[in-house]
């Protein structure tokens, strides 16, 4: 089995599914690689290199650059999905969702419900999220709690190359709209990924690491941070289990409850800001469903309630790190 990057795993998923299903089309800004100099197309495969090579393989009928208007192309993707295509639209930065929120929230998320189950919207919106790239407050946010809030959307946040490929293939085969969020800091991470097609089901958390003293729930890039913390905690004699929900909607409540009840101590790591975030959401659910099994307060490790700073030293402080996770674990481990 080959070790490939998170970026390549996504590229493989798009290529395999476009080859398998002619209804899969792609639209977005600079998707075809950007015209670059001298009119060269497919030069670098989009802003983050994910779609490289697809224009040459599938042609401009199926993979298309749009004008710089999310309002327009997300709306167009919704219409294409309703009429039988399976579009994959790319928001270069999830921060731009503001100008197409009506399309996403009032249209795409509602079609199946408001048309009495007779309309399907098999649409994937891929978008990057997350801090760490020195891109300032308008290109670095972790918007997944917002989408998780709306019924009618599925929200997928892969943490590693294997899951990225399997979840994206599942997203493209799903008959409901899927918001697929890629952390920019994960694109170069490597992992073993099978060559062929496979799907990872939604609503199925992954037990990343077994442990018996504390359960650390982590999402997206935070899974790596949680694993790093767990390794360091091991040398202090603390055995930490790491759980990656993989999708925040649907959320695998059963697995989270099962492990919370068994272990009794919970730390949740979330790159989003703390108010109405995933950490708060999961914490409330566990407090409600398994309060009697908890041996200590649930601890949340999140970004602070501020915009993402542009100053590099402050941006580094902003994102939760392993030390913050270790501190949270140690604050509840004696109880």
């Amino acid at each position: 089995m080959a070790k490939i990057s998170f970026r390549q795993a996504l590229n493989d998923a798009l290529r395999l599914e476009m080859a398998r299903d002619p209804r899969v089309i792609m639209m977005g800004e600079d998707l075809t690689g950007g015209a670059g100099g001298n009119g060269v197309k497919d030069a670098w495969g989009g802003a983050f290199g994910v779609t490289r090579g697809l224009l040459g393989e599938f042609g401009p009928e199926r993979i298309r650059d749009t004008p710089i208007s999310e309002t327009a192309f997300i709306g167009a993707a919704a219409g294409a999905a309703l009429t039988g295509m399976r579009p994959v639209a790319e928001l270069m930065f999830v921060d731009f969702a503001g100008v197409c929120l009506d399309q996403i929230v009032n249209q795409i998320a509602k079609f199946r419900y408001m048309f009495g189950g007779r309309a399907r919207t098999p649409l994937v919106i891929r978008a990057t999220y997350g801090a760490g790239t020195r891109s300032a407050a308008q290109h670095t946010q972790a918007f997944y709690p917002i989408f998780t809030h709306f019924p009618g959307l599925k929200v997928v946040i892969p943490s590693n190359p294997y899951d990225a490929k399997g979840l994206l293939l599942q997203a493209m085969r799903d008959d409901d709209p899927v918001i697929f969020l890629e952390n920019k800091m994960l694109y170069d991470t490597m992992g073993e990924v099978p060559d062929g097609s496979y799907t990872v089901p939604f609503g199925e958390a992954k037990v990343v690491r077994d442990g018996k003293d504390v359960m650390i729930v982590a999402i997206g890039r935070m899974v790596k941070i949680a694993e790093e913390a767990a390794r360091k905690l091991q040398s202090d004699g603390i055995s930490a289990c790491v759980i990656d929900p993989r999708t925040t909607s649907p959320l695998d409540e059963d697995t989270l409850i099962e492990f919370a009840e068994e272990i009794g101590r919970v730390v949740i790591v979330d790159e989003a800001t703390p108010r109405c975030g995933m950490a708060a959401d999961i914490s409330a659910m566990l407090a409600d469903k398994c309060f009697d099994s908890l041996r200590a307060p649930i601890k949340m490790v999140t970004a602070p309630h501020t915009p993402v700073p542009y100053a590099p030293n402050l941006e580094d402080l902003y994102v939760p790190n392993a030390d913050a996770v270790i501190k949270a674990v140690k604050s509840i481990i004696e109880r």
């Binding site: 496979y198 199925e204 958390a205 037990v207 690491r209 077994d210 059963d254």
Partner: protein, 373 residues
């Protein structure tokens, strides 16, 4: 007076170090050969290590909770006649020897896919240099080469080891055509022609037992010994529900329930084992391939394979190993056991004694092989 080292074992290619998660005996305790004395945790799994010698645990070198590289000395077993100075000297000399060990790695495992024709490949793991005799490991339904994690290195101390992923499993291609079992056996035979020239000591688990018997029937002159662990093909009864549930389980929890039936102690099923099995089962075409293989194993009347005659006619040594708590292929009754076979039951093991009682299985296998040499 003999002084014996307790070391960190190597379970699989990627293991470089292990954590001594627990000492099951204390310094000064009497230990006997085969007794579980430490629990070692790798990044993939946790398992007990059994003592290779009888005596007294004279010294704990690596305490519980500490990490040490593969092969490192973690404890010393000797009888009472050894002095503390002898033990100190042994520890000092071991430190020097283990540093040198890192360089020689002739037993290192290598894994590669072998072309068996028609575009199909068989994934082959080998340990040790080319030899005119090979220990061939054949896993069971739904398994792969990692079935032998706790056995391959013990066999490789004395023999060249060749383990394969059966077609439709691991990194091997699916079976082709409607003649599923004959084509599966042909692919393995072709892979062994290429990877294991010379004599074959077949060691097989469960469904792999039917494959081993087919190979022995086709080329009796090449097969030097047969050791089968809970094989299919001796009786008619088999837990078909296990095979069905294994194929249909798509998520962690249901698959965990299925895998737990394999062991006498279900707590030994780690989340890594579940995740690894899920990854295999998610691949396109795998559930269909598994269903086709299941249909060669069992039909409405029970087991379809019969290997009794092949074993009875086999000229070399035959050994059968069963876990006393096997919930998949029940223990055969006396009339079903060929008279030339040495039959061993390991009481506290389920369907996978090679994992649950690895040292005991390893010594039975090595003993059976040595009878043919």
């Amino acid at each position: 007076m003999s002084i014996e080292a307790v070391t960190i074992p190597k379970w699989g290619m990627t293991m470089t170090e292990g954590i001594v998660s627990d000492w099951l005996v204390a310094e000064g305790d009497e230990v006997s050969r085969g007794q579980e004395i430490i629990e070692v945790e790798s990044t993939k799994t946790t398992n007990a290590v059994e003592s290779a010698a009888s005596g007294i645990l004279r010294r704990i070198v690596v305490e519980a909770g500490e990490t040490a590289p593969v092969g490192a000395l973690v404890g010393v077993i000797a009888d009472a006649s050894a002095s503390d100075e002898d033990i100190d000297a042994f520890i000092a000399s071991f430190a020097g020897a283990s540093g040198a060990e890192e360089e020689e790695d002739s037993n290192a495992a290598s894994i590669k896919t072998v072309d068996v024709g028609n575009g199909a490949v068989v994934n082959v793991l080998t340990l040790g240099a080319e030899s005119d005799s090979n220990v061939v490991l054949l896993h069971g339904f739904g398994g792969d080469v990692s079935t032998w994690l706790f056995n391959q290195d013990a066999f490789a101390q004395k023999h060249r080891v060749v383990a394969v992923d059966l077609p439709g499993h691991g990194a091997s291609s699916p079976t082709q055509g409607s003649d599923v079992f004959p084509s599966l056996v042909a692919s393995i035979e072709r892979a062994l022609e290429i990877s294991a020239p010379g004599k074959l000591h077949l060691v097989a688990h469960s469904f792999g037992g039917a494959v081993a018997a087919a190979i022995a029937a086709h080329q009796p002159e090449r097969v030097a010994s047969i050791t089968l662990i809970a094989p299919v093909g001796l009786g008619k009864v088999i837990n078909k529900e296990f095979l069905d549930d294994f194929i249909t389980a798509e998520r962690r929890k249901p698959l965990k329930d299925v895998l737990e039936r394999l062991l006498a102690d279900p707590s030994k099923i780690s989340n890594d084992m579940i995740e690894g099995t899920l990854r295999f089962k998610r691949l396109e075409g795998v559930p269909e391939a598994l269903a086709a293989i299941r249909d060669t194993i069992v039909d409405g009347d029970g087991q379809r394979h019969s290997i009794t005659e092949t074993l009875a006619n086999f000229a070399g040594p035959v050994a059968l190993i069963w876990g006393g708590k096997d919930k998949i292929v029940p223990l055969p009754d006396g009339s079903q056991i060929p008279s030339n076979a040495k039959f061993s039951v390991i009481e506290d093991a389920g369907h996978m004694p090679q994992m649950e009682a690895s040292s005991e299985v390893n010594s039975i296998v090595l003993d059976n092989i040595s009878k043919s040499l």
